[in-house]
Chain length 346, copies 2
Amino acid sequence: MQTIHLVLTGLGNLGRRFCEILMEKDAELQRRYGLAFSMVGVADSRGTAYDPTGLNLAEVVRLKRDGHSVRAYSGVGRTDRTTTDLVAEAEADVLLEATPVNLSQGAEPGLTCIRTAMQRRMHVVTPNKGPLVVAYRELRDLALQQGVRFLFDGTVAGGLPALNLGRRELRGAIIKRIEAVPNLVTGYVMDMMTEGLSWDEATARARQEGVLESDPVWDLEGWDAAAKLVILANVVLDMSATLEDVDRTGITGLSVDQLTKARERQQRYRLLARAETRPDGDYVLSVSPVPLAPEHPFGRLGRKQMGVAFTTDIYGTIVAIIDEPNPVPSSATMLRDLLDIYVVER
Amino acid sequence: MQTIHLVLTGLGNLGRRFCEILMEKDAELQRRYGLAFSMVGVADSRGTAYDPTGLNLAEVVRLKRDGHSVRAYSGVGRTDRTTTDLVAEAEADVLLEATPVNLSQGAEPGLTCIRTAMQRRMHVVTPNKGPLVVAYRELRDLALQQGVRFLFDGTVAGGLPALNLGRRELRGAIIKRIEAVPNLVTGYVMDMMTEGLSWDEATARARQEGVLESDPVWDLEGWDAAAKLVILANVVLDMSATLEDVDRTGITGLSVDQLTKARERQQRYRLLARAETRPDGDYVLSVSPVPLAPEHPFGRLGRKQMGVAFTTDIYGTIVAIIDEPNPVPSSATMLRDLLDIYVVER
């Protein structure tokens, strides 16, 4: 039995649910993979808790569910240490970085957490798009230099292994085109409007259901989809793209009329992220709402579904779709990445 | 630059096309991965050719395209060595085993080739279902014992990375159900009949187009789909299943009437392979033609499409579909597996 020591920064929806998955699967992971995971440190925006002998995950989950900070964790909760302090000081094998995206603040504190962890020779697993969009190459190179793994399959399309598909299952192929529907909120809002709700009603409903987060512009103007496309482009297509390289149109300009007319033609609108080859071999990146015919791979995507399609030279066209009825799969990507580090392939 | 020495047994459609892919991608693979592949030995049913300094792939391809055996390869072609002799004698890093399935003959010569290669500490890559169906656990254990890799992603659903998805992208999950459409011929024949052709006309057309191979029973009675399901079950679900464990119904009993009635209801028949959890936790394996509604993940599969769907506890439901307009993707799975062995993940 190998014991892996973890530090988790960020205890929002993803982080807290990951703790729940780890609790539920503890015995199963020991039995199937011979791996015991011990959470030694956790941090939220208001404090930290660190215990080298392992925290009680049930207690962490209880505190967060009750709206408290982990600084209230009995005995080892701290108010005088920040998220980045924890990463700089904790002894652990892996950093799980799940703080919010925060692109407006230079992707902090995620970026500093990841750099610090790598410098301290910890592997890094993150579903946080921010640091990837801002500094993918720097972080990839730092990981290589430090001899640690850097995995982030959860940054694109929730629980769908979109990046892993592109970067390892399509090895040896030239990818001619990527199409993706990596954002749930926009599909939800457009479907609601197609069913007769106004823009305000549809976005209010999305907010009520917890699909639309605090900053609606991020999702509805297509920034979220663009960020995911940039990650796909840099990781799978080996580009050096930034958000500015994406020709981006959000869904705020769409009218109910456009949506209902599309429905009459059996089409369904989705915010489509695309990387397409130009004649000179470069890729053009775009995000825009597109009416999709039923024959299109994403023409029948439901409200809780995301997808990615790769058109290749030697593997034909491969489409993958996830049905994600709740946020568990997005959290579970951290487990996928963790097991990728520690389960030996043979 | 690392040079990898290969031996390829079987030069039918898959084997020959693999040689073509390797020729076309030689410079690209050196540039992208620092890997140079040298084919030192090839075998077909009538002879072998072996040159430790590397065979000329263009010459191998030319001979096969012209209907010759590689025993006619200038200088090093042999008529006195068999496929298994070549594997026993050649110095190479990897065996690519692409002889025909031959379950009626104990999966030979593939099974002996694989055993011999592993005993000689060669990695093994194979798209040949036969040895997997007959002896998966034995071969897996032998590979472990010998410290070699054993990869066979091409055995299920052509170029779709169905096995890789199930065994590594879903790590940590409990798989509740697998549904797959892993066979192209049956879909082709059923679609033709739906369009008004009789059984005899539809199968004749499939034969003309090269979709239906010499032994029609293997495909049409569902044995091919059952073999793929057995491999999925053993590799992804850790079962010890055999062909006898699959409740199998082929498409030979289907009437034009059933097919056209399904079409009137907007349904499409596909030969569906399923692994479903029983209340006691075991899986039930079945293969049968099923009319699929448009909402079903495979309800709109085209004639050149195959798919697999995994219903899981923590990754939601993940569906992958390949559009495989020609047999190139199936051959290319050998390249996928090869790169899996030699490209270091980081």
